[in-house]
Amino acid sequence: MNIIVCVKQIPDPEAPPASFKIDPATNKVAPPPNIPPVISPFDEQAVEAALRIKDAGGAKITIISLGVNLLRDVVKKPLSMGADELILLEDPAFADGDSWATAYALAMAIKKVGAYDLILCGRQAADWDSGQVGSCIAEILGLPQITVAKKLEVRDGKVKVERVTADGYDVIEAGLPAVVTVSNELGTARYATIKGIMAAKRKEPIVWKPSDIGVETAKIGAAGRRVKMQKLFQPVREGKCEVITGENEEDAAANLAKKLAEVKLL
């Protein structure tokens, strides 16, 4: 069983909203100072999904991450959680692609890895929230896709997935190889173990450049974009909250009820 998980390094989405800034000169998000980047949480959950399959019946888990300035401590986290190999597509030519350009490079890297039964991605990266890379990889490789999974089970050459829907979930099955994108409903990803951290320290990632995976540079990164960004801005929040007080919390609560009755919201 060979599992490939695609993960992305992003600015920490748990950083306080006040620290979020856009640099108007570059039309880019300025990374919050003193807050290190993280693996996108949905991708961590995809790693968790792979590890649960490994726990249940054994698997080799290969992590692929695409980007620039990939901090080794950050991108090695899946290794310290229990993944086996780490491949980095690290080159300026890979950077700033849209979903299509990114998925194309990832799909070509997956082809180069060769042995894969299951490809996992987060349902979306928590920076651009595009939510398409998994589907694009499936389309390029001609594989079945199941998106927004909360539970996966691999048996008899098939993957059975619980896919989150608006009012519950669908149970969907596909033959392997297949692409599955993982949602937060899967549950919290495990912590790295001390043993895992030590093992990850000793393991060096494999770094591939565009020429290593045979991609045309016109089709990857910023050059390969089909979707163009015209503007990036922060919506204005009004912030006109009327704070209801009282002698104590109970009193304040009663005053809130009175206030709501007064403005006919009760």
């Binding site: 079945p144 669908d170 990036l232 609560a253 009663a254 009760l266």
Partner: protein, 332 residues
């Protein structure tokens, strides 16, 4: 494909009727088509959906493409992508819109790449650029911290649209429209996934999407017991209970009541946010509420920036006192 014209809406059907999102998309599509002085079409895909065509016309479609086939009874990616590809190549729309639903967000990227174009998911605003005539696609990014406006040069320009971001037209049953039946041309062997079971997690009482009052709990509720108290309060207002992501991820409540970027989008009259800090990703699902009431122990919590009224303190003390007073005022 240089002669692409018109706006096409993939109109989802639920229980034999147009889904609310489909009506909203037709309303939005009508406006865009009007600006382009082009046609608005609807695309109905399913089994036994031909009868819904009249509803699509009433909600604004000039033409309705109907693809009715037993293989299309349930949504399966490969089948629906194949049909969209076929109809889009036949009809050559300039713009193709879908809903940001569990079907739309699975279908749209794959259909877009099959057609050699691209798609922007989860848009909250769509406009035609006055000079370029391109579709300006506004989408929340960075968990709702920012918004980006995208365009694409490839055709059809595709987007999915978030629930309740657009308004439906008042249906007009006297409107006339053309119905075009298209053969699905499906080969069952190309459908690589199998739907084994559809599980509906029944939520008691009022549905979140329909509720005029929502009592929503966050991480600070601390466990499933706390949500029982919120349920009592919701019952008093004939409302529904919602949650931010952490209670769902921790299994305190079913995932189907999650409100936020990756959950449901709601816009009730009153949204009572209890022990919710107000992350951008949560606000993405509730900021359309008419009145947000925040109850949080942290006076600096982000939720107070969105709220109309707030109380700072421990919800365990505030909720029972608030409920007792509200009961008294309501004469119950």
């Amino acid at each position: 494909m240089t002669d692409n014209k018109g706006v096409m809406i993939f109109t989802e059907v639920v229980d034999g009727k147009l889904a609310p999102i489909a009506r909203e998309l037709l309303g939005c599509g009508r406006k865009l088509a009007g600006e382009l002085k082009e046609e608005l079409s609807a695309l109905l895909i399913g089994s036994g959906v031909a009868g819904v065509a009249a509803e699509a016309t009433a909600y604004g479609a000039d033409k309705v493409y109907v693809v009715d086939n037993e293989l299309l009874k349930d949504y399966r990616t490969d089948a629906f992508v194949g049909v969209i590809e076929k109809v889009a190549r036949q009809a050559n729309p300039r713009i193709l819109l879908l809903g940001q639903t569990s079907t739309g967000n699975d279908l749209a990227p794959r259909a877009a790449f099959r057609l050699g174009t691209a798609v922007t998911l989860d848009c909250v605003a769509l406009e035609i650029d006055a000079s370029s005539k391109l579709l300006l696609q506004t989408k929340p990014v960075y968990g709702g911290n920012a918004r980006a406006i995208f365009t694409m040069d490839t055709l059809p320009q595709m987007a999915t649209v978030r629930a309740k971001a657009m308004s439906a037209l008042t249906p007009d049953s006297a409107r006339k429209g053309e119905v075009v039946t298209v053969d699905a041309g499906l080969d069952a062997a190309t459908i690589k996934t199998n739907l084994l079971q559809k599980v509906v997690q029944e939520v008691e009482g009022v549905k979140l999407e329909d509720a005029s009052v929502i009592v929503s709990g966050g991480r600070g509720i601390g466990g499933p017991e706390g949500f029982k108290e919120l349920e009592e309060l919701a019952k008093l207002f004939k409302g529904a209970v919602g949650a931010s992501r952490p209670p769902c991820d921790n299994g305190w409540v079913p995932t189907s009541i999650q409100i936020g970027l990756t959950g449901k989008v709601v816009s009730p009259e009153v949204y009572i946010a209890v022990a919710i800090s107000g992350s951008s990703q949560h606000l993405a699902g509730c900021s359309g509420s008419k009145n947000i009431i925040a109850i949080n122990r942290d006076a600096e919590a982000n939720i107070f920036k969105e709220a109309r009224f707030g109380v700072v303190g421990d919800w365990k003390k505030i909720i029972p006192a608030f409920q007792a007073k509200a009961k008294e005022l309501l004469g119950k």
